[in-house]
């Protein structure tokens, strides 16, 4: 697929690189001379100019692009670029800079198909790493509601019980279960829980701690070697 990425800073270039690695074609748009040179040295096609100008986006091939990633740190540029991208029939993804705006843009910006908040994603990854690999936040589904994957440890109280015997707090639901070396699937009542098995749970923030204690046990003093890598 073909993509136009606005902004060749840390977020834009990394996104373009991942797309390129997966066999897609990405053209960057960058206002700054140094960043333009650096991205070109890295082998990227970069159009130098303001990503909120239609002419610049046309030069970057917006007419034939499948998607537009507006990934600069300037919200006005990002939003305008999405408007133009939408006009040309692109899927549009906008980078935002502050937590509270995620909800606002999801609700009101009909021209924006999805929003990304890199700082929050980074914080989630850092938190997962700090917790030592046995609990992994997958997504904030809504304000106060989080989707997490937990890996059953040696000290987990739930170890040895079956799915049917598992009782989660009221504000939590088990969505998927996977044996240690198997793929995740829908949970069935007869399956028993062993070390290394994974459970995907949707829970309200206040219930998360109870879920963690039940499925993992007390905080390990040392991070599980290897941790979570995917």
């Amino acid at each position: 697929m073909r993509f136009v990425i606005i902004g060749s800073g840390r977020v834009g270039v990394r996104t373009a690189r991942v797309l390129r690695e997966e066999g897609h074609e990405a053209t960057l748009v960058e206002r700054d001379g140094d960043l333009t040179r650096r991205a070109r040295a890295d082998g990227f096609t970069v159009v130098r100019g303001d990503g909120s100008r239609e002419g610049v986006l046309e030069e970057a091939g917006i007419e034939s692009a499948d998607g537009l990633g507006a990934l600069t740190d300037d919200l006005n540029v990002n939003f305008t670029a999405c408007l133009i991208g939408r006009h040309h029939g692109c899927r549009t993804v906008m980078r935002i800079d502050e937590e509270h705006r995620e909800e606002i843009y999801r609700k009101y910006a009909t021209e924006v198909d999805d929003v990304v908040h890199p700082e929050r994603l980074g914080a989630m990854a850092a938190k997962n790493a700090l917790l030592g690999g046995s609990i992994r936040a997958i997504a904030d589904v809504a304000g106060g509601l989080q989707l997490v994957e937990l890996t059953v440890t040696e000290s987990a109280p739930v170890k040895g019980y079956t799915m049917g015997e598992l009782e989660l707090p009221a504000d939590a639901r088990l969505l998927a279960f996977g044996k240690a070396d198997d793929e995740l699937g829908l949970p069935t009542p007869d399956e028993s829980v062993a070390v290394g098995d994974r459970l995907v749970v949707l829970a309200e923030f206040p219930a998360l701690e109870d879920v963690r204690r039940l499925l993992i046990g007390e905080m390990p003093t040392r991070a599980v070697a290897g941790g979570e890598r995917r």
């Binding site: 939003f79 937590e99 909800e103 843009y105």
Partner: protein, 76 residues
Amino acid sequence: MITAYVMVKGNSGDADRIRSAIEAVEGVESAHIVAGDVDFIAKVVVDTPAAVKDVTATRIQGLEGVADTRTYIAME
């Protein structure tokens, strides 16, 4: 009459409620949710410059979910 445009930065996602609260402030003629580095723009129409300050610094800034305001007074 004095007209002023107030750029309002929020700190909460419930934009509908904040917009309504801003619009309910006396002296505010209209308020919109906007895209960009501010979240709302309100148009204020009052009698005196002092009233502009009261509407923005005291009333709008005092609303829950409002982090910051910046006011531009129209010259013409």
